[in-house]
Symmetry: C2
Subunit: 460 residues, 2 copies
């Protein structure tokens, strides 16, 4: 039976598959920093060529930002669109990387071999699991089990500004029966997971200006307003003593967890102690009346992702700076409205602003949360295939991260998304020394090979 | 009479005096940044050579940090020690300078000509007013009117770590009848001022560590502690609603202003509106029940001089950082104990520290406030000389800045200090585009020439 041959071919082709991924990881496709625009374009070209080598009708599509990569290949039965992103996070603080982030390598670790490098897990390693599965099907059978369209973007790590316009302009071409998204993780190292709840995201940069120039804190300290102190006070007031966000109306549209889902989550082999212990923490810091897993999967949050102002060099400088800055982001759930929350945040800052200070804002992405309807037969077809590949059965879970594309596919293309990924909690995505388990890469490829087969037989 | 000839010589020699100052300003003697160690040494050598050219027995004295410059020259009657510092503040943010900070130039401004460049006012321009006065006396009379010792340090902008040990080791050599310090300003552009109250300073860097590495705010946002938020909350709690510092015992040793001094300050031609208006502010930000001039001269303050943590580059990065940092300093008055206040600050941070976070501190300078006894005849002799040179009579004032040397001279050498300087509020010391009025430089030189003469006749 061809699935077995395909899986055997995947096992035999592992080394070459790794080499292909390492090639892609060497491209410094940091989308949020305009200095890397050419590298993003290079990653797009690399993918177009690889898709063409797999028999896809593939091309790079320009946008005002980084290009999209689109590919199509015919097949029988169900038509699926696979999504991934070829852009990666910035690498700072660079000094905390053990090896250069864009010189990827296979490493032995106490937990097995890993692929080390920026983007290895988020998301180049993950998207390649699907392409390698297609490569194996083509090599063994000469065709794909289902009709496949490919949609890769290069702006996922910088708010996807071009995504919605592009989707709207290309509805007919991108429409399919279901979307497959490989940008998530597994709830435990041996439990394959299909994410059905995704948090939304709204980001904002705030700059508070006090004095017209930097001042000497001796000559001016006392009567002169310090914008760092104004910013500290406003940001500290974003949370109450119980860890809840204080913005008026913030919890509008935040649903209570259905009893059976809460039950399923409680039964997961998941421990807050080890989840936090792995990153040197021990006390869940979120809303006091919520479990840690709820705090991540089904509760909204607010975090300061960056702050800067005044003298930050070596030694001391007694300055009262003219400006102070912060980057703040909110993770959203249910039907929370990102635009209302952005407005509430700006109001909050303004209410803390003395009359002789001013504030400027820069808007980053604004995406609502996504909740999948799992009634489509593709969901159970995929979950069964995952259960066949892994030690534990596949489960439906939530995800703290924000993958707005799922919501956009729902709204603009009218299709549900299946979020199936093989990342692990310790992959250190968005951090120094990002890695992807070779096990995730290998069994991820095998998982997609099984899913394509299962979809062709059970979701036609 | 020789004073008139000396003043005439000063007027005639102005252009050359400016060129000498510009030479000194070109030396990048930033003491707080070890990258500029050689430049600090170069500035010390420059001063030794200039002192020798004026007939001083001058030499550079090594310290664990930057060298001291010492000079001696005999004269009749009273023996004075003149203090200044050759080191300067860092120059960032560099992009806000209209011209390179170490390429000084004479500029025309609506308020007259200025010398533009880092250190022009704080303190190279000021210390040169005294050397130029000595140069004129030597040129015209061949001698100095009084016995003069010179004491220049190169660590004033970085907490003066070597100062106290050096004073203690050289008491006999540095002891004199009174100290002259030129590192302060004028209360109004036409009112020469002798500072008799100086605020102290204690500085502290704080680093809060939460997670063992940077985290993805989607994967971890909620249960994971964000050290920026911990820092925001702790710093925001340093002040109450009335602008008072909340540290227990902070106001111990803070004296009430004597009625007659408060009266004299009220009568000064000094306006909070214009003081704040010059730097784009309008509302005194300090303790609500204190006037702006009290807030600067006679009240203690706490300011955050720098803060940083997380992603501060272009665009957005949804990270929960491992660490957050701040530089905090306190201005002290009366008999406040800098070491007690440092301890109270560290306790404050620790009480705001969650059990799974850690904190590290770096100590910067700790100097108590200074209050001068103005009974020594040198004070009135100097005030009279200043009144002769300037449009308005000289006045005794306070100063928000911290010049610990005055207190050290009191304690270690047992001599009072006369703080006489010619800086203006708009000199932008510690800020981009620092300047020194040519008027301050010229009349400052003339002032010292008069003071030396007056001291020789009235304070012998």
């Amino acid at each position: 039976m061809s699935l077995d041959s395909v899986l055997a071919h995947i096992d035999a082709d592992q080394d070459k598959a790794q080499d292909r991924l390492l090639d892609l990881l060497r491209i410094q496709s940091i989308s949020t920093d305009s200095a890397y625009k050419q590298d993003c374009d290079k990653a797009a070209n690399w993918l177009v060529e690889d898709l063409q080598s797999l028999g896809f009708e593939a091309s790079k599509r320009p946008t005002p930002g980084h290009p999209m990569v689109i590919g199509h290949q015919d097949g029988n039965g169900i038509h699926v669109t696979f999504y991934g992103h070829y852009d990666v996070q910035p690498v700072d603080p660079l000094e905390l990387w053990d090896n250069p982030p864009f010189e990827p390598a296979i490493e032995d670790t106490p937990n097995g071999k890993v692929i080390r490098g920026r983007g290895s897990s988020d998301d180049k390693g993950q998207l390649m699991t699907f392409l390698e599965a297609c490569r194996a099907w083509k090599a063994v059978t000469g065709t794909l089990p289902v009709k496949v369209s490919i949609f890769f973007e290069g702006e996922e790590e910088s708010g996807s500004p071009s995504l919605v316009p592009f989707l709207k302009e290309n509805v007919e071409e991108l429409k399919s029966d279901i979307t497959l998204i490989c940008d998530t993780g597994m709830v435990t190292p041996k439990t394959p997971s299909i994410v059905t709840m995704l948090r939304g995201l709204v980001g904002q940069q705030v700059t508070i200006t006090g004095p017209s120039k930097d001042l000497h804190s001796g000559m001016f300290g006392g009567p002169a307003r310090n914008p760092i102190r104004v910013l500290n006070k406003a940001l500290a007031a974003l949370h109450d003593e119980n860890g809840a966000v204080t913005l008026p109306g913030f919890y509008e549209g935040v649903p209570e967890l259905p009893q059976q889902v809460a039950e399923q989550w409680r039964n997961l082999d998941w421990s807050a102690d080890s989840f936090l212990g792995d990153v040197g923490l021990s006390i869940p810091a979120g809303e006091k009346d919520r479990s840690a897993i709820e705090q991540i999967w089904s509760r909204p949050t607010c975090d300061v992702n960056g702050i800067w102002g005044g003298y930050t060099g070596e030694g001391s400088k007694t300055v009262i700076p003219s400006q102070a800055h912060a980057k703040v982001s909110f993770r959203l759930v249910g039907t929370q409205d990102p635009h209302k929350i952005r407005a509430a945040f700006q109001d909050h800052i303004r209410t803390h602003l003395p009359a002789d200070c001013s504030v400027d804002f820069i808007d980053y992405g604004a995406a609502p949360a996504s909740n999948m309807e799992i009634t489509h037969p593709a969901f159970e077809a995929a979950r069964t295939a995952l259960s066949d590949e892994w030690e534990n059965d596949g489960v439906y879970v939530g995800c703290g991260g924000s993958i707005p594309i799922a919501g956009h596919f729902q709204k603009i293309l009218g299709t549900e998304s299946m979020l199936i990924g093989f990342g692990q909690d310790d992959d250190q995505i968005h951090s120094p020394n990002e890695k992807y388990d070779l096990r995730s890469f290998h069994k991820g490829i095998r998982s997609w090979a099984r899913i394509l087969d299962s979809l062709s037989r059970n979701a036609g």
